[in-house]
């Protein structure tokens, strides 16, 4: 029996496969396809203090080997997540879940993390710093080392759960931001979020997406994610969750050899709802092919 388990900040996962936030809702939609207890964990939909409808439609633009989305953090708000989604999840998912938290101010991050800190099923808090920072002129918290560190410190003050900061790739120097988060007390990092992109409808002569620009994700971004996971994991000592364009067990292993302790699978779930289940099932086969006995042995093995 090959050992696929990994440990994130003391939390043992049966395998490193984690559906990424925004592609898996709060779990219930995938329960209709398969028993999601086969997963390592999953990161639930980015949650804010207030309910949000998000951006106008169309919100999706197909691309070569990927898609652009501008959903705009649609979610039912922290009260409904704690009052309805988590109690429902408990009935069919018996593992710790990763809580993805978003905010438009430091206070909002702090408020949501303080609330979610009391939820037993939450194993890790994943803080999404890609939303626009209203106080800093709309630039996202994740694009400045100072702002990212400020969010990290604020959140760490209100929770004893491990805090992972989910980093944006739309920056000049992701290592500087990663290090700032680590120094501010982050227990881990997750990268990458989507790359800013845009498509044009050439018949209508306008952007495909109502919001014009959106986040590009899918198979095409995998090499960018691998590069950034490599840079960050070499520069930081906290665990890294690799994310971006992962769609196969082979990708999971590549991401781990690069430096990731666990791996999030996002957009692949949207074209194949069984993507994560298939990856979990294929991992031991792929480990055998590559002569890997224990998956955690290969973390960051690439020099």
């Amino acid at each position: 029996m090959r050992d696929t388990s990994v440990v994130l900040s003391g939390l043992r996962l049966d395998n490193p496969v984690i559906p990424a936030s925004g592609t898996f809702g709060y779990g219930a939609d995938f329960r209709e396809f398969y028993d999601i207890n086969c997963l390592g964990s999953f990161s639930f939909k980015g949650t804010t203090k207030e309910p949000r409808f998000g951006n106008p439609t169309p919100r999706i633009a197909e691309c070569e080997s990927g898609l652009i989305n501008a959903v705009g953090l649609q979610n039912p708000g922290i009260d409904a997540v704690i009052g309805e989604e988590l109690p429902r999840l408990k009935e069919f998912f018996h593992k710790p879940v990763i809580a993805n938290i978003s905010g438009f101010s430091i206070d909002e991050y702090r408020y949501c993390c303080e609330r979610i800190d009391r939820e037993e099923q939450v194993g890790i808090i994943e803080v999404n710093v890609s939303c626009p920072n209203v106080r800093h002129g709309g630039m996202s918290f994740g694009t400045s080392p100072e702002a990212a560190a400020e969010v990290t410190r604020a959140v760490k003050e209100v929770t004893t759960k491990p805090v992972y900061i989910k980093l944006s790739p739309n920056v000049t120097d992701i290592v500087a931001i990663a290090k700032a988060c680590e120094e501010a007390g982050a227990d881990g990092l997750c990268l990458i979020n989507t790359l800013l992109g845009m498509r044009i409808d050439t018949v209508r002569r306008r952007a495909v997406i109502a919001n014009k620009m959106g986040g590009f994700s899918g198979d095409a971004v995998f090499p960018v994610a691998v590069r950034m996971v490599y840079q960050v994991s070499k520069a930081c000592s906290v665990p890294v969750i690799g994310c971006g364009g992962v769609s196969s067990a082979r990708d999971v292993i590549e991401m781990m050899m690069t430096g990731a302790t666990a791996v999030e699978v996002g957009t692949a779930n949207l074209r194949n709802p069984y993507a994560c289940k298939e990856i979990v099932e294929t991992l031991p086969v792929e480990m055998e092919r590559l002569g890997i006995e224990k998956l955690s042995d290969i973390i960051g093995i690439v020099e």
Binding site: G22, F24, K45, L270, N272
Partner: protein
């Protein structure tokens, strides 16, 4: 409940210059209501293509689609015998139990197909079914004969007046008596029907989708009962849920 399965193409043929009919053989147990859709994986396209179900029985599904882009263009070149990866049983579909004695079904263009299975089932339930089908021109008309063959009352509207009532479906509706509406078609048509009618009904909406099964939140819309995903809590909305 829905499921991914492999389906074999039984036939794939054009009905007009741009509208095609594809018949698939395979498991149909997850289709539970008229007006649901399937989501087809297409080699060379990142996302699946959502196509409404025109009709189905125990082991086959009839789809009618319009060639509008790369994905449907590839579909139109597929041959009988080829296999497709399809998610079935998606969306809520029309409610048969809501129908009164004289339902009116109104379809515009590629909004016509999902009404076929509905018409067949309403007819079988003993309802007096009237159908209005709207097209731009005579050469764009499809499935009028198939609806006739069900024994339902068929009215055609064409924008250029080449067949039936000249004008829009709402012009053909003026002479009819009905007490419930089922409709599917382009957004301006749905809005016109909403404004031109007072009786209760169900409207099937279209929106650009990512996944087609509720995960990506790409196709959300605002309703009187909160936000709904067109792919999951839709595509059919009840009249009192709609905000135009």
């Amino acid at each position: 409940m829905y499921k991914k399965g492999i389906y074999e193409i039984v036939s794939n043929r054009p009905l007009t210059d741009s509208v095609w009919q594809m018949v698939l053989a395979g498991d149909t147990q997850y289709l539970t209501a008229p007006g649901q859709f399937v989501n087809i994986a297409i080699e060379g396209c990142y996302l699946r293509r959502p196509i409404s179900v025109c009709d189905y029985n125990e082991n086959s599904i009839t789809l009618i689609y319009k060639v509008v882009g790369r994905g449907t263009e590839i579909m139109s070149r597929m041959q009988a015998g080829e296999k497709l990866d399809v998610l079935t049983g998606l969306g809520n579909g029309f409610s048969l139990s809501a129908a009164t004695e004289r339902p009116l079904l109104v379809g515009g263009g590629v909004g016509v197909p999902p009404l076929y299975n509905l018409a067949r089932k309403l007819k079988a339930a003993g309802k007096r079914v009237q159908v209005v089908l709207g097209f731009n021109r005579a050469d764009e008309i499809f499935y009028a004969d198939e609806f006739e063959a069900l024994g339902v009352e068929v009215h055609i509207a064409t924008v250029d007046g080449s067949v039936g009532v000249k004008g829009f479906v709402t012009d053909a509706m003026k002479a009819l008596e009905f007490d419930y509406i089922y409709t599917c078609g382009p957004l301006p048509m749905l809005k016109a029907i909403y404004n031109a009618s007072e009786c209760d009904g169900e409207f099937s909406f279209e929106e650009r989708m990512g996944c087609g099964f509720g995960a990506c939140m790409g196709c959300s819309c605002q309703t009187t009962k909160g936000s709904k995903r067109i792919c999951k809590e839709g595509p059919v909305l009840k009249r009192d849920e709609i905000i135009f």
